[in-house]
């Protein structure tokens, strides 16, 4: 009985000391602004997530079409660049450029319209970083690659 009382007291104290501090989310543009430029949605799992390898594994197992992968990689890149998760930017950029390269090889003309839209969003995000800073250069690389898809 005493044990149950102890556990109850413990959880009661815990309830009053639960953390209340929440750090503000830092981002360049809000989702509404992005959507006004044609951005559809963030991915639920992005390159910074611990669940990301499972997402990649699923993509490989179910052989997701290249065009769908292009959209997915773009959405992930926008999430990472917009939320200023610059530690993951290099990997996200590499993945986006990699799938863009596959589309170029396969000469998929259907993405040229989408590419135009992507450039607009990427340029806007790039300009959120100081000119010639590392994230700026990394995003510029994606702009250059996307131009070749037009």
């Amino acid at each position: 009985m005493k044990i149950y009382a102890l556990i109850l007291i413990f959880f009661l104290i815990l309830t009053f000391t639960l953390p209340s501090r929440v750090l503000a989310v830092s981002e360049h543009l809000n989702l509404g602004q992005l959507q006004s430029m044609g951005f559809t949605k963030y991915e639920s799992v992005n390159g910074n997530s611990l669940l990301y390898p499972f997402k990649r594994f699923r993509e490989k197992i179910f052989r997701v079409p290249d065009q769908e992968l292009f959209d997915t990689r773009f959405n992930e890149l926008i999430y990472i660049a917009n939320k200023k998760k610059t530690g993951f930017l290099e990997e996200s950029v590499s993945r986006y450029i990699s799938i863009s390269g596959i589309l170029m090889q396969n000469k998929k003309s259907s993405v040229s319209e989408k590419a135009k839209q992507n450039i607009k969003i990427l340029e806007k995000l790039r300009d959120g970083y100081p000119a010639n800073s590392l994230p700026w250069i990394q995003i510029q690389k994606t702009v250059d690659t996307t131009r070749r898809l037009q």
Partner: protein
């Protein structure tokens, strides 16, 4: 009997082959490099403790390192190759001692051999001794030997030898100091006998520390006692991995606060466990409980701490040791592949893609999460059995245990609070 010995010898031989691969492909990096620098300082007539952060352990292994460095120069070979010989040799002796211990506990030869091999063929002990080059197995060997001498004192001399050996173990690494109180309250012995055990242990430690304390009192104490551990393993590793999601930062900013808070919680929990162990003939189980509590509650853990519980679990023939080994293997792989691939794979480390590769972070996270859950469940399972002792205690002891339980639970609040803050910030 013959079959058991064949199993034992074959297992040790296979383990030597695997360990040989790691030793021959290893590099002089990480802790092994620090050991070489420490040895060079001592051989130059300097106190290694004056170089803070170089050597945070008690001084006995410094002499082993210096002797190895001397022999390295003499034989014209690599230091990292020879220094790893000692912990691996200790692993072989632990295996033989476990077999002898289990046979003394009336376990049949073949099961005793198989249980003993669970130690030497365990990937965690192989990685720790052969790849990383850490010497925790030497400490475990001396600790198990001390328990053996106290459990089977066939000669009166053994009773005197046990505390000296435990003192030597503490002079290598401080972790057996946390189980020293269990040795003192164990069994039905008179107070002078317990006091003699304590004094002999302290005397052994004191003699080994003395030259370093005389040279640089403050620097020695600060180096050894100022070290609180790093948050590489356990639940701190889980939090580090969660924090990594924010912006690929692999240092937890709240690590120091968490270590401070969890240290107090561990000390209170350990005091409670010592009381629950008092007067009982469950030395191995009580030592295991303290180590499991440490691995569950304390946040400043390194990879090599996982091997402390293995020989104790094997001596109890507790199947949880298998689950623990599996979980620890994944946690180790995640840790080394992400933070230190050169320690695990030596000259082949470039095949991993280099240091701090995000792709290994999920392995580090899930491995440590699994390890922490297994450790906590194992602790609760043993504790449940030990709690039955509680009913047999006299009222004052019961009250003390209850008071410590309350204090322990209260001391957990800041730990849980910090943990929740980190989780909240990492997953938003």
């Amino acid at each position: 009997m013959k079959e058991a010995k064949l199993i034992l010898v074959s297992g040790i031989f296979i383990s030597i082959l695997i360990r040989g691969f790691f030793i021959f492909t290893g590099l002089e990096v990480g802790d092994v490099k620090n050991m070489h620098d420490t040895a060079n300082m001592l051989l130059s007539g300097l106190n290694p403790y004056t170089n803070s952060h170089l050597y945070p352990y008690p001084p006995l292994y410094v002499f082993v390192e210096a002797a190895t460095a001397l022999f390295t120069n003499f034989a014209g070979t690599s230091f990292h190759f020879l220094i790893k010989f000692w912990p691996n040799l200790a692993d072989i002796f632990i295996t033989l001692l476990l077999y002898k211990f289990l046979r003394k506990q009336k376990v049949s030869p073949t099961p005793a051999a198989i249980w003993s091999l669970l130690y030497i063929l365990n990937p965690v002990t192989i990685i720790t001794s052969s790849a990383h080059g850490q010497f925790d197995s030497i400490v475990s060997l001396l600790t198990i030997l001390s328990i053996y001498l106290l459990t089977f004192p066939s000669k009166k001399f053994y009773i005197l030898l046990s505390p000296i050996i435990l003192g030597l173990a503490i002079s290598f690494k401080a972790n057996p100091a946390m189980i020293l109180p269990v040795f003192l309250v164990f069994g039905q012995r008179a107070l002078p006998e317990r006091a003699r055990f304590f004094l002999l242990t302290c005397l052994t430690i004191g003699i080994i520390f003395l030259p370093f304390l005389l040279l640089n009192f403050n620097a020695t104490l600060v180096s050894v006692f100022g070290y609180s551990g790093v948050s590489d393993f356990g639940y701190a590793a889980v939090l580090r991995a969660l924090w990594y999601q924010i912006n690929a930062e692999y240092w937890l900013p709240q690590a120091e606060d968490l270590i401070g808070a969890s240290k107090l919680a561990f000390l209170l929990g350990a005091a409670l466990l010592v009381i629950l162990s008092s007067g009982k003939d469950t030395l191995i189980r009580s030592c295991l409980l303290i180590y499991l509590l440490f691995l569950t509650v304390f946040s400043g853990q390194s990879a090599q701490y996982s091997i402390w519980v293995l020989p104790l679990g094997i001596l109890l023939r507790d199947r949880w040791v298998i689950a623990f080994s599996f979980a620890a293997l994944f946690a180790h792989l995640g840790f080394y592949l992400f933070f230190a691939p050169e320690l695990l794979l030596g000259k082949y480390f470039t095949i991993t893609g280099g240091f701090y590769q995000t792709k290994y972070m999920p392995l580090y996270f899930f491995g440590n999460l699994m390890l922490w859950v297994v450790t906590a469940l194992w602790l609760l399972k043993i504790l449940k059995g030990q709690w039955a002792n509680f009913q047999a205690f006299k009222k004052p002891v019961k009250s003390l245990a209850l008071a410590l339980s309350v204090l322990f639970l209260v001391s957990l609040i800041p730990v849980i609070n910090l943990t929740l803050q980190i989780i909240q910030a990492s997953t938003k």
